[in-house]
């Protein structure tokens, strides 16, 4: 094999701490290498053209590029080889940027390490064989997980593009966090008026199947052909019969059920529909509070239901949906602020979260839009807002900015003045972060037109004094302590990844960061893709995000799915395991270890043998490492290829 080696400068990224010319010089001595050069930017158009020219001129059959991580540009260079008429797998990449130049400063040591990495790549390339993809058909339907505004947008865009959509929502209604909001910034228009029509569209769209009160149980398959098991949780109401008339709710005597939709500001009935505009508008029984389910007494709802929909014996049901792609849009949850002892740690009823305040402001909320203190129902006069509660605070393990709290706090201070003209809002802030169209103007308006008193500083303590709460903090601009006697304190709680987000990530085989937010394929260039083919992201599951950004991502994810499904056939990845039938002794160890169930037992002339199901194999290599006979080999990462690299690096 004739190998050509290209050492990339990557501007000064690599050249700054690696002598690329010396690496190219050293490469010429490696077995099989007939051509080596350094190049300014291997991935640029002239860089790629240079590789193609060299392949033609020197009749190369294999190429090593030493540059950045293969995650960045391996597909780029593989396409380059194809344009030059070579098989794309006769290419190896040595990562001398992330693994060398970016992590060390010693030019000489870096140069030596870079040479070693190129030596390994060239040694492996000598053992590489051309591989060819197979074509397989695509199931042109998509599952959207999460029915918040991002999921709704993704589902509608996909459905309008002609795809069949399965929307899975874990609550009994879609709408997500946005359904709980009273108004949206910076226009102060009604949140449910904006979202409501979209929710109705979802319900009425012929292409959308909605599974509410359901969760993803298991995900099998691969891009184009996922098989997903969904657990439809028992609601104790037959939703095919329920009309959402609400008669059962009216008559239910159990009034103490936790009202999660109203952020626990109120209680609800044991049988309930979260809010009037719910989609689907179906009742569910909370078994914890239902006297029939707990003690076999009552059953009033069943008696009054005109459509006989109540079913106390209902069980969870598992259904299977087959789709070609998945959009994860699982949203966010709020930081548990009670770790802040200085804010009372949850002991004071008049210290509430911003989302609770939002429910309080909402006309469909528990106080019908009247601002009332939870403790005594009085109208507050002095309302103190504290920003960055569980954001930008290392001490509680939340160093990141939640992004939209500055804006919703400004909005809430404006609404407070609207609702209670005699009131005064005080906002303790660290910085005001309002980069967005008309955002900064909005926060200015809160101060200038609505008279919100913005105080730059943190709050050190809240303590009760009579029926007031004393809020003590610093005003860092004045260089003084401030004490405000507040009637109500609203904490702008930060954003966390959804409860259960990490479990779902494991099922979908996608990565997540330290905080449970899903990792995008590339922070700049692949914001809604993941590193798992066929799985896309939208909304706050990827990181804190406001409504416009979530909607934009919902549409972006949909466009990716539509792009994927514009092909009738997809090319399979040939980097999968194969079984050497002669070596296989049928022990079945590979079948046990495969995490994807990609290996099955077959009968071969009366003997047990293993066989890999190519489309399910993800190329992880666990079977290869397990097989006592070395009969299972992962193509492009065979034992011989890996050992060639090891021998190249351990040559002394």
């Amino acid at each position: 094999m004739k190998i050509g080696v290209f050492i990339c400068h990557c501007g000064t990224n690599i050249e700054g701490t690696v002598d690329t010319a010396a690496v190219a010089e050293a490469s010429r001595e490696f077995p099989g290498v007939v051509f080596a050069t350094d190049t300014m930017y291997a991935c640029s158009e002239p860089g790629q053209d240079g590789i193609i020219e060299a392949i033609k001129e020197h009749r190369l059959d294999g190429v090593v590029v030493a540059s950045c991580t293969p995650r960045m540009h391996e597909p780029t260079f593989r396409r380059t080889l194809e344009r030059a008429g070579l098989n794309r797998y006769l290419f190896e990449m040595a990562n001398i940027r992330e693994h060398v130049s970016w992590v060390g400063k010693d030019r000489e040591a870096n140069t030596n390490k870079a040479s070693d990495l190129v030596r390994m790549a060239a040694a492996k390339l000598l053992k590489n064989r051309p591989l060819f993809s197979k074509q397989f058909p695509v199931n042109k339907s998509v599952m959207v997980v999460g029915g918040g505004v991002a999921g709704i947008q993704a589902a509608l865009d996909c459905a309008n593009g002609g795809l069949k959509v399965v929307l899975v929502e874990k609550e009994t209604t879609i709408g997500g966090k946005m359904a709980k909001l009273d108004k949206t910034f910076p226009t102060v228009d009604c949140s449910s008026c904006v979202l409501g029509p979209l929710m109705v569209d979802v319900a009425q769209h012929p292409n959308i199947t909605l599974h509410a009160y359901s969760e993803i149980k298991e995900v099998n398959g691969y891009v184009g052909n996922f098989e997903i098991q969904i657990k439809k949780k028992a609601s104790y109401v037959n939703w095919d019969l329920c009309t959402g008339c609400g008669l059962c709710i009216e008559k239910c005597p159990s009034r103490k059920a936790t009202d999660f939709f109203n952020e626990k500001l109120a209680t609800t009935k044991a049988i309930n529909i979260p809010f009037p505009q719910a989609i689907p508008k179906k009742a569910k029984i909370d078994p914890e509070f239902c006297m029939k389910i707990q003690k076999d007494k009552c059953g009033v709802c069943a008696k009054v239901c005109p459509s006989e929909a109540i079913d106390f014996t209902q069980q969870d049901e598992i259904i299977t949906e087959n789709v070609g792609a998945v959009v994860a849009a699982t949203g966010y949850d709020l930081f548990d602020w009670t770790v802040y002892g200085e804010y009372g740690g949850g002991k004071y009823p008049d210290v509430i979260t911003s989302l609770q305040y939002e429910r309080m402001l909402s006309a469909s909320g528990p106080s019908e839009g009247h601002i009332k203190r939870p403790s005594d129902g009085k109208e507050p006069k002095n309302v103190v807002f504290i920003q960055c509660v569980g954001s930008r605070d290392k001490s509680v393990g939340r160093p990141y900015c939640s992004g939209f709290c500055c804006m919703y706090t400004a909005k809430q201070s404006i609404l407070t003045k609207d609702h209670l003209p005699d009131s005064q809002s005080h906002v303790f802030y660290m910085d005001i972060r309002s980069p967005g169209k008309m955002y900064d103007e909005f926060t200015r308006r809160a101060m200038e037109e609505y008279g919100a008193n913005y105080i730059r500083g943190r709050v050190s303590m809240i303590y009760p004094k009579g029926d007031k709460l004393v809020v003590r903090g610093a005003d860092t601009l004045m260089g003084a302590q401030v004490e405000i006697d507040a009637d109500l304190v609203v904490l702008a709680v930060g954003v966390e990844s959804s409860v259960g987000a990490t479990d779902l990530a494991k099922k979908l085989r996608i990565s997540y960061d330290n905080y449970g937010f899903y990792m995008e394929g590339h922070p700049k260039l692949k914001p809604v893709e993941t590193n798992t083919a066929g799985v896309y992201l939208a909304g706050a599951c990827q990181g804190p995000k406001d409504i416009p950004a979530s909607v934009a991502q919902g549409s972006a994810a949909a466009s990716k799915v539509l792009g994927l499904f514009s092909q009738d056939m997809l090319a399979s990845d040939p980097q999968v395991s194969v079984v050497d039938i002669k070596r296989c002794i049928g022990c079945g160890k590979c079948i046990q270890t495969c995490p994807f169930g990609a290996i099955k037992e077959i009968d071969f002339r009366g003997m047990k043998k293993a066989e890999v199901i190519e489309t399910i194999c993800q190329g992880c290599g666990i079977c290869t490492a397990t097989c006592p006979q070395g009969a299972v080999q992962l193509q492009h990462f065979t034992d011989n290829q890996i050992l060639a690299e090891v021998n190249a690096v351990c040559r002394f």
Binding site: Y340, G341, E342, G345, K347, M461, Y463, P464, K465, G466
Partner: protein, 296 residues
Amino acid sequence: MSDSLTYAYYPGCSGTGTSIEYDMSTRAVCAELGITLTEIPDWSCCGSTPAHTVDHTLSSALSARNLALVEKMNLDTAITPCPSCLTNLKTATHRMKKDGFRDKVNKLLDTPYQGGVATKSVLQIIVEDMGLKALKDKAVKPLKGLKVAAYYGCIMNRPPEVMNFDDPEHPMAMDNIMTALGATVLPFPLKVECCGASFGIPRKDIVMSLSGKLLDAAKDIGAEALVTACPLCQMNLDLRQDQVNSAAGTNHHIPVFYYTQLIGLALGLSEKELGIDKLCVDPRKVINAIGRDETS
């Protein structure tokens, strides 16, 4: 932690003077509870506030000298009633984990200290090593009917990474002890607020306002007495209560006990050995009311 509850005891300077009743009651209560206190021979001042505000090395050396003495005693834990001493001992230990700093400190000492002595407050060992149940079982005269607010002061639990005991914002150790002994503990919102500390000397007005706030808050929640664990807090609230009253025009009359004195009373020890007579605000009325049936 030893089963026998034997500790090296560091009284601290105030224990020999301004807070002698704290030292007396601590020793009496520990003896009654079967906790053996061996006073550190030739112990010296921990440096208090002045040392660490001037020089960290010197301040740590003052503490490390005492800890080195504990090492010689072959005891693994030193305990002190005073949170200020405890902070100095703990901070010295914390800082001396750094090699360079430890060498600088040990240069100043005749006997170098290598670390290895645990430091705790008397409060911590009563709660953790002794346990509330054992304490409750030994209480012969429960503090029934006593409405008390527990005041911890600012440094008993803070900074949490150094002090490593209880909650930095809402400590409960004294609350739990008092509850176990039958007292009614009121939720005191300012339990870790500063009393003004040593500002009583350069800026009395600061102590007047801060301690005044504490007394006001105690009165607001209906506390008949305050219970403290810090000599300086106790002094500002008790000895200076009259000054606070005249500065703020209030008329507080709230006795300020050391928690050890109240434990002692519950254990049936005499007022004399607990140094009750050393308190400035007369606690007679409150003590007499203990145990009477509260019907109001």
